[in-house]
């Protein structure tokens, strides 16, 4: 199916739950509707998005809006879709780890790096950084700490000048 066929199909099943971004082949969904749309993407016989490829978190750059881009592929039907869910800082996104197990680690990574919270995630904790790390490094306003467990985090670049 092409992108417009997919969006028409979703629109016919759940009216008004998705919105399109002008000039892009991307579906945008609000956090409230996300779980319903996700279930449809996975279980509908003419969609069958059985393979969640990637969850990419991103920072909109205004210090309060963060987003997650989900890239899906259907191994059975060989088509592709990208879905975006954007939230304000402090709001959580429903976890889809119950539908696609691949989401488990990807959501943990998005939490670890960008500070996105996923509701009903089986085990939401840091994955790449250590448990006691402070802050979320991939946020644009992130500044690295001066010390970590008493060890100075090197910032002195005078050696190279």
């Amino acid at each position: 199916m092409t992108f417009s066929e997919i969006t028409d199909h979703i629109e016919s099943k759940t009216s008004g739950k998705i919105s399109l971004i002008e000039g892009k082949d991307v579906i945008q969904v609000t956090p409230d509707n996300w779980l319903e749309v996700a279930t449809l993407l996975k279980d509908d016989t003419s969609l069958q998005f059985d393979y969640l490829m990637c969850i990419s978190s991103y920072d909109k750059g205004n210090n309060k809006t963060y987003g997650a881009a989900y890239n899906f592929f259907s191994v059975q039907l060989n088509h592709y879709i990208e879905v975006r869910v954007e939230v304000e800082d402090g709001t959580s996104i429903p976890s889809v780890a119950g539908l696609w197990r691949a989401a488990d680690w990807h959501e943990r990574e998005a939490y670890d790096m960008m500070g996105l919270h996923f509701e009903n995630h089986p085990d939401l904790k840091r994955i790449l950084l250590s448990e006691d790390w402070e802050g979320y490094p991939l946020r644009k306003k992130y500044t690295e700490p001066d010390y970590y467990h008493g060890m100075p985090v090197p910032k002195d670049k005078s050696y190279w000048d």
Partner: protein, 379 residues
């Protein structure tokens, strides 16, 4: 036998947590496994990763598009060419540029040589994990020849910085194609030797057949890709499903697991798919050399990589599976966000699921058959 061991009425048992790694030869790098066991039987595994984390994605936000290539090199250090190729394809999709035919063919030749080199390490170390020492020395010896070719090509043996967005750094050196053909002539019989020595070895089959069966639907649900998924009989290869570069011009098969020695999707199947893929790669290289056109490899190299604002998700079939690069551009020469979908990251996440009920010694075999590279998992 496992059921009997798990049966609590036979003997009083209790859960024990064992730590394997981060410094353990069988974990293929600095990976720590927290293994919950009942006696010798594994009930759950928590992989603890991040020991090699160097915040690749944060670095990307401070570097121009061209400067990121040496970083992608260091992600999957056993298949650096694949990472460069995957990243370059994504950037070219964002730039919307057409490459000279010669560049595409050179890239395919190099990528398939890299696939052979990477699979040689995978099958060699897999044998090493289950106690077969000789095959490892043989496969490393053969990989050396590929590395020699790469050294002639770009001067580096491990981290190449060869494939750039918009082209490649150099044209092929003199005699490179002849040397490649010589290597293929030498290499084909070596696969038969490997089959005699390892693939059909009784002890090897006992250790790997029926062990760690990955059902196809579980594999897809966990996002497992590459040879690890094809071992379960799923015909999913991006070179065929979503062809990129000039792959549609070549005639090759996608080897799938068939459960010859045991159950479909066991560790032996995952191993054997890699062995068969090396033959297919050799086939592709021969065809590419025959069809290789002339031309200038630097014709499409952009003076400055400055894509329009927008996003792209580029996909690539690397030696370990489906590599994805999600790049957001805001129209400057530095990307706003680069996210890398690492195949081994997803492949590792299925470990706990397929290891349940197996002995600790089998965990080594299962982990080896998934062929993980920690540099790429931790990024």
């Amino acid at each position: 036998m496992e059921e009997q061991l798990l049966d609590k009425s036979v003997i009083e048992t209790g859960e024990m947590v064992l730590n394997m790694g981060p410094q353990h030869p069988s974990t293929h790098g600095v990976l720590r496994l927290k293994i919950h066991t009942d006696g010798e039987v594994v009930s759950k595994i928590e992989p603890i990763i991040g020991y090699l984390h160097r915040c690749f994605e944060k670095h990307c936000e401070k570097l121009s598009y061209e400067q990121i290539v040496p970083f992608t090199d260091r992600c999957d250090y056993l298949a650096s060419m694949h990472m460069d190729h995957a990243y370059s394809l994504a950037v070219e999709k964002l730039l919307d540029i057409e490459l000279p035919e010669r560049v595409e063919y050179i890239r395919v030749i190099i990528s398939e040589l890299q696939r052979i080199a990477s699979h040689l390490v995978a099958v060699g170390t897999f044998g090493l994990d289950v106690g077969a020492i000789t095959p490892f020395t043989w496969t490393i010896r053969d990989r050396e020849r590929v590395l020699d070719l790469f050294e002639a090509l770009c001067g580096a043996r491990l981290l190449y910085n060869y494939i750039w967005p918009g082209g490649v750094s150099h044209d092929l050196p003199p005699k490179f194609l002849e040397r490649t053909i010589e290597f293929l002539e030498y290499f084909d019989p070596q696969i038969d030797e490997l089959n005699n020595l390892l693939t059909t070895n009784k002890i090897f089959i006992e250790r790997t057949a029926d062990v760690g069966v990955l059902p196809p639907e579980v594999g897809i649900n966990y996002g497992v890709t590459g040879p690890s998924l094809r071992g379960s009989g799923v015909n999913f290869d991006l070179r065929k499903n979503e062809p990129y570069s000039v792959y549609p011009n070549f005639d090759f098969d996608v080897p799938l697991g068939e459960g010859i020695m045991g159950t479909l999707g066991d560790s032996w199947d995952r191993y054997y798919v890699r062995v068969l893929e090396m033959r297919e790669s050799a086939k592709i290289i021969r065809q590419a050399i025959e069809q290789l056109p002339d031309g200038d490899v630097h014709a499409a190299l952009p003076k400055k990589v400055r894509p329009n604002a927008g996003e792209v998700y580029g996909r690539y079939e690397s030696a370990r599976g489906d590599v994805g690069f999600y790049i957001i551009s805001n129209g400057k020469n530095i990307p706003l966000r680069v996210k890398m979908r690492s195949p081994a990251f997803c492949n590792l996440s299925v470990l706990s699921e397929i290891s349940e009920g197996w002995m600790i010694s089998d965990i080594i075999a299962i982990l080896g058959s998934l062929d993980i590279v920690l540099g790429e998992i931790d990024r």
